[in-house]
Amino acid sequence: MASSFQPESPTSKRVRIVVATSVMLTFISYWRAAAIVLNDLGSSAFYAAGIAEQAVGKSAPWFIVGVMLFSFTVRAVYVESCSMFVRGGVYRVVKEALGGTLAKISVSALMFDYILTGPISGVSAGQYIAGLINDVFITADTHGWIPQAVHSLFHGTPRFNVNGTAVAFGVAVTLYYWWQNTKGIQESSEKALRVMQITTVMVVMLLAWSALTLAKNGYQPVPLPTPQNLHFSPESLGFLRHSYADQDLARLFGFFGILIAFGHSVLAMSGEESLAQVNRELAHPKLKNLKRAAIIIAIYSFVFTGLTALLFVMIIPDSVRVPIYKDNLVAGLAMYMWGPQLLRLAFRAFVVVVGFLILSGAVNTAIIGSNGVLNRVSEDGVLTDWFRQPHPRFGTTYRIINLIVLLQLFTILASRGNVYVLGEAYAFGVIWSFTFNSLAMLVLRFKYKGERGWKVPPNFRIAGREIPVGLASVFLVLLSIAIVNLFTKSIATVAGVSFASVFFLIFTVSERVNRPKHALAEQQMKEHFQLLQSDTVERSGLGIRQGNVLVTVRDYNTMGHLKWVLERTETKEQDIVVMSARISQFGAAAYALSTEQIFSDYEQRLFTRAVSVAESFGKHVSLLVVPARDIWSVIVQTAMNLESSAVVTGVSSKMTPQEQAFELGRAWEAIEEPKRQFVLQIVHPDLKTVDTFHIGPHTPAMKTEDVHLVHRLWLNITREPGLGSLHHHDILTEALTRFARDYAGRDREDILKELHKTGKTVTTRRLGGNGGRGSEPPASKEKPVPKKGDGGPNSPPVVSP
């Protein structure tokens, strides 16, 4: 079917497709990377200590501190895995070391972790909000601010059902992020950084005010973490409580009690996996920046989660700490600071705002992370392609997102807003994904012979063989806790094992069902397409000329803009490149994609359609698949690399053409020099309306009367003595210089007023040039563009920059 598209290899009947294997990423600094991880890791500070104290008693903070110190070593394992595989997530590492079956088991545990992250964060945020509202009511009531009518209506002080409100809030936040992810809104490192900046302000205030409170009010001692000081609740002993209910458990268990308590505190370090996910996006020098990010993460989470856990017990009285504030301890801490009550209440409101930001962000991270993991295993043939069908309007993997969100909503409703239950279950996924990862890393020390940037110390050599003492130690601790948790966390064990087993079963059955279909699809692909792997996108790789037209495609049902280009382009003079970007978010970037995975069943269908459209015009198109983190960056970067003169795309379902052009212009500003201008053409579905935008600085389109004005001025000025040799552009230069001076000076307001008056306020945002600081001429728009044969331009079809 595609023989006419093989100029470079006449012997082959297959269509050549260049598959770029490197994701085109917008690299981020280690600060931003740390912020992204801390949005997940830091959120546990809001609930981990409360859960641990309910399970093991008042000495729980010491175990939280111990876990946070231990998290430094878990972080070291992740740094080593990231130094071996740039996308070193659990699935990649375990599959490499232990094979597909254990990789599926580890991913099932990780999925459990992700599915639980959303509900625990959403419900916890709801607990903080409901707690604040109730305390505001109490304070207002004590001051007599509550009207009598309201008082009678509630039969006393108005009060929200805390767990009910937490469930409602958790459901609302999950549904909000479900819709955001269905629409495919990109996660921004900028937002994560802002959230962490606000959180840092809160943490600093919290620590400083706590220090003042301790100095003024004294403190309650935190019992040392000895077996005698452990007071396990019946729930915290899980299956063991039935066996040893009447015995002195602390005396009976001894040192083993420490393990149980440690196991109940382990969820304080949940979120370390995110480190592997952001590694791919880290700027050069990668390893050094990874280490820096890891240090920031470890120190920050130690201070925030570890030290505040101690402060909870030191400052909040025993009588209220667990009974009232167990699910919102940070808010409780704010309420027991030294100082006036209204100030404390105001600070508590600030704590709730920060908690809302960081915890709801964790809900989003959970959806993104699980979507990334399921996409990854789906691409591996472990889930059927049905799951990966793109949304007809937004192009996202909405079926996977729906599945994740349904599971999360079920979890929220089943928990009835009980953070303790959610935390118990959550720990299962956390500890087992860490354990699998460290086991895999240990195996890879003997198995993997490739490059390794860094190793967990210490490592000793005995008889020429390296013994990874540090790595083995971390694994031993994790494994011992994971096994103990199996017996002491009955909710986690039942829920986790059931969930992981169901997922493992789905993976295994899907893989079996998929195998023949995948083999057939692969066979068909081999027959029709020839995949040419390339690390980068280069003109030479595609065999195309400078000044080509880059056409972006995403949905095989909307190829109108490709037809529009084919109608107007003489391919003997100008090449057409059809590009599909495979977008991967933070979560997905952690997993390596092979050529076949990047060019999957969907891309095969997409390009088959593109080729058949091109064939119907009898014209040749070059095909390109590029994995990317950000759609705008990848379009700009590809246009730069291919030296394209124009980029043609369809109208987005999510944004206006002006917004599309603005995003592209912003991506153009962000890339490094040298860069060239190009034209963006957005073709509407009617194929008659086309919005044209110049990307990068360009000569503005001038109205006829303005040209006449310049000419008249030139005529007058050249009559002046000594100015006869002046050019038109000299007039413009002088006029613009004066305008810029006036605009920068005291005439700014007058100029803006004048522009408003004449209706020439710049409404279109700038698409390149001076860094977005000033007003720019609106992007030129030309519509409709006439078709070839009806008086329109033949080739190129686009407006020259």
Partner: protein, 47 residues
């Protein structure tokens, strides 16, 4: 408590204890490296 349970508990305790000592070493050694990294003394992008 059955012998099997006692042995299993002792094995887990031993794993945790030995692992804990090793993890403390990891903590100290990586802590030293971290300080060097923060001070800019670590230039080992590729070993």
């Amino acid at each position: 408590m059955s012998v099997f349970v006692t042995v299993a508990i002792r094995v887990l305790e031993a794993m945790f204890f030995i692992g804990g000592i090793g993890a403390t070493l990891v903590l100290i050694l990586t802590g030293i490296e971290d300080i060097e990294t923060l001070l800019g003394a670590d230039d080992s992008e590729h070993h």
